[in-house]
Amino acid sequence: MRNFDIVHPSSWAEALGLLSGGDEGTRAFSGGTALMLMMKSGFYAPTRLIHLGALEARCSFIEATADGGLLIGAAATLSSVEASPVVQRSAPVIAQAMKKLANVRVRNVARVGGALAHGDPHMDLPPILAALGGEVLLCGPDGERTCPVESFYTGYLETRLSQGELITGVRLPPQAGWRSAYVKCTTRAADDWPTVGVAVSLRVVSGAIADARIMVGAATERLTRLTSAEAALRLGAPDAATFARAADAAAQEAVTVDSASGSAGYKTELLRVYVRRTLAEALLNGAVQ
């Protein structure tokens, strides 16, 4: 860990300018909780780090949008999201999940933008935000654009974030009427990275499941939406039999991977169980008002 610069841009424009060189050795960082580990292990050796700290004041907002959705700035810490009354009211699943996300020391410095940009499939926030229908807000040399969280990840540590682009925040659609849950399991120590993480969101209308989004993280190479499991739910009654059908579809569909925390085959079986349990929990959690 030597021979690199840290620069502190004071505006988005300056930050984007610094990133525009196309140099693989240049990276933006905010909390640094993931990047520092990669640097310590020799996995990544930067030449220049762009610290986004000076942009925090402008980019750590958490606010309700006019349509009843939610807007979270990229520089908001995970702790501030956890404690936000707006989040607790309009997307309580996020606040609940935070309590078991890493630990308070990490949550105090880790930022929403970094949690989205890192691209490690074991992270908790991306599946939740994807299940809630979230969009990543990006700005780059060619202006601003958005990308659904569910399709933001292209591989292990790979995202649709282009070189020279920065994440400015995430936007969630209105959650009224949706029931959501996130459940993860670890197979080694309790505070391990998850072996499987399942986030679901569903809308029940007149006793039938009208809409559903099911995301799986950790067990797969990248965050994955389980569309055949969602199809198995649609128009079914929100009961154990429907959930079991969806769970079987999920197990069929997901491409799980081997790792030190479990074989692919075992993760598929865990996924089957956890899709069922997460759906049941979402139902129990009730609809956002």
């Binding site: 860990m1 030597r2 021979n3 580990l37 292990s41 020799g42 399991c185 197979t187 080694r188 120590a189 309790a190 505070d191 391990d192 990275w193 030190a260 479990g262 074989s263 075992y266 079986e269 865990l270 169980v273």
Partner: protein
Amino acid sequence: MKHHDIMPAGQVGRSVPRLEGRQKVTGRAAYTHNLVLPGMLHAKVFRSTIPHGRILSIDTSAAAAVEGVHRVVTGEDLRAIVAEPYFGPAFHDQPALALDKVRHIGEPVAVVLAEDPYIAAEAARLIVATYEELDAVFDEVEAMTSSAIVHDVLKPAGTFPDLKHLVGKRDTNIALDYQLRRGDVDAAFASADHVYEHEFKSQQVMHTPLEPMVSLAAPDGDGLLIHTASQSPSFVRIEIARLLGWPENRVRVKVPYLGGGFGAKLYIKLEALVAILALMVKRPVKLSLTMEEQFFTITKHACTFRIKSAVSSEGRVTGRRCEVYWNGGAYADIGPRVTQKSGFTAPGPYDIENVSIDSYALYTNRPPAGALRGFGIPQLVWAYESHSDMIARDLGLDPVEFRRKNILREGRPHATGTLMHDAEIEGVLEKIAERMNWSAPFDRGEGHIKRGRGIAIAFKASISPTTSVAIVTIAADGCASLAISTVDMGQASDTAMAQILAEVLGLATEDIKVIHPDTDVTPYDMATLGSRSTFHMGHAVRLAGEHARRQLDELAVSLGYAPGAAYAPRDLFKKKYGMQAGNIVGVGSYIPDYTSPAPKTGLSDNITPFWMIGGTGVEIEIDTQTGAIKVLKLINAADLGLPLNPKIVETQLSGAALMQYGFTLFENMLFDEGQLTNGSLADYKIPGLNDIPPVIENHIVDARQTTGPFGAKGVGESATFGVSPAIANAIHDAVGVRLTELPLTPESIFNALRAAKSQAGKA
């Protein structure tokens, strides 16, 4: 309660808070990691990327060219200072840097010295080594017959009396084969009503001390000063002096507090390398390992244990054959002692007429294995206490009842022939049964959550024969300092030793100054290991205190006090020297009696100065849909004699049990052709606060070690013994599947449940 009686002076038996507690929690305690010396160079090690091979070339030119690099050193360069730079407690088999061959991935091959540790690290990455690859062997059972030979020449050290017979077997990977023969085991099997045979495996794991290994050597006049995070300063001095051909007094070894040791920092580790480097460059040299590098430095033995028992129809074990294979990795370290010391307890704390034991220390091309809290005992107990339950279940006997029928009781001979004394095997068993409410009905859970419970009991012999020496200095104002080479690595030995001295001298524990290991000042101690300090150093401190006390008494009489009359020591000094001046120095040296085991039979009438007895009971629940296991209750009980400090004893019991808990449930060094694939704390998980069972009880069983200082004996390892089999036995109790390989992961439980289901389906 009897065992919480406080001794007459009110010091021994009192739960004195740790003397260093405040210093540690306020961040003021000094560790070797914090130490910086003027002109100091940092060393970074370049490591082997192949498991076994001949070194063809080492290109250090790119590393040496990095600005800020002082020097790059290879194994051959070390020969300028020490012609044969091989070290080790059992064999002189480990080179400070690889010479001729590399024997495991991660073995030190070269080292970069720089004033900036980051420059050293960057330059080390630029070193290129080429090798002629050799066949490698990784599995301990395969190593018995493998044509891949890890060491072409064996070099027994001959240092320790209990390992004097050690020669190894040339052209094999066997560093030591220990055997015990008692009675006629073949006849026992021939006439048995039932014969049971099982094989159990333990995985390789790491100590994971919070403070990674660190050593700093500095030239000091015509000698050498070594600051090191070591559990054995006296051994480091002797071994460095041997390597350099110097008298011991030219080598000074200082050890401050340790951030955990658990056996990782024993004997000699980084000290030989930094010592030679410091002499080579004539500057202080510091080597601080990262947490990750520790995986390549020392580990706990993986082990395969084949156990076979002859059992009568009433459930009495009449014969037992034990074959134990210890995966020692590339260097013997203290593995041969693990093989022997643990080996003779392999049949368990049971009264068995006919016993045969073969225990093998094997070289393989894995990172070396040595001592780790329990010293081989947990690997053995894992097997024999799982085996106990498997026999009991098959015979339809209650597991506690089966043990009651078979345990070794007071006065009965152990497998070696040594008669059991002061060993509360029964007390530990009954305490666990009582606290588990064993005879009452048990809630077995419902739906997909099944509950079960299990127990295990075990014993361990102390290492022997070993020596401890203590020096007490009484100052002219009557206060006392205690110079000992016992290392306080978190186990609170400073506090316990101060309590013993305070009790003897009639002082307050808090007023005793304990001088930390500094071989220029503190006398010899074999090492802080194997729960030996309380007994051995405890006696030495007691003797030193009594020696000082005697001299004070004599001084008092010489100054006209009536024999036995009360006096204040300060008055004696003032009267004798006319002012506050002078000292009284008390010395205590202790070595227990011991009879070496006969080489052919392994028998001895005095195999250990004391027995440590420990046991565990657990209640668990299993989620049958996922295999997830939750330990709801963890009950530890131990015979540690009389507790010197009950509160600290309880933390030793819970700490030991939780350490083994991680080794039982998930810790596991995973290898692919000798390459460690999870060598970081992100992928090698140790228990955290959220893993701790909601109920933990730690019980000090009523006992007294009649030969111990104030009735006490060691306790640091006792609660590790039973954890693994107690949990496996509880899993079987809950869901009817038997696991024979550690760790007991949810996936292995899930797979066993699946297999049982498909078996039932076929039936």
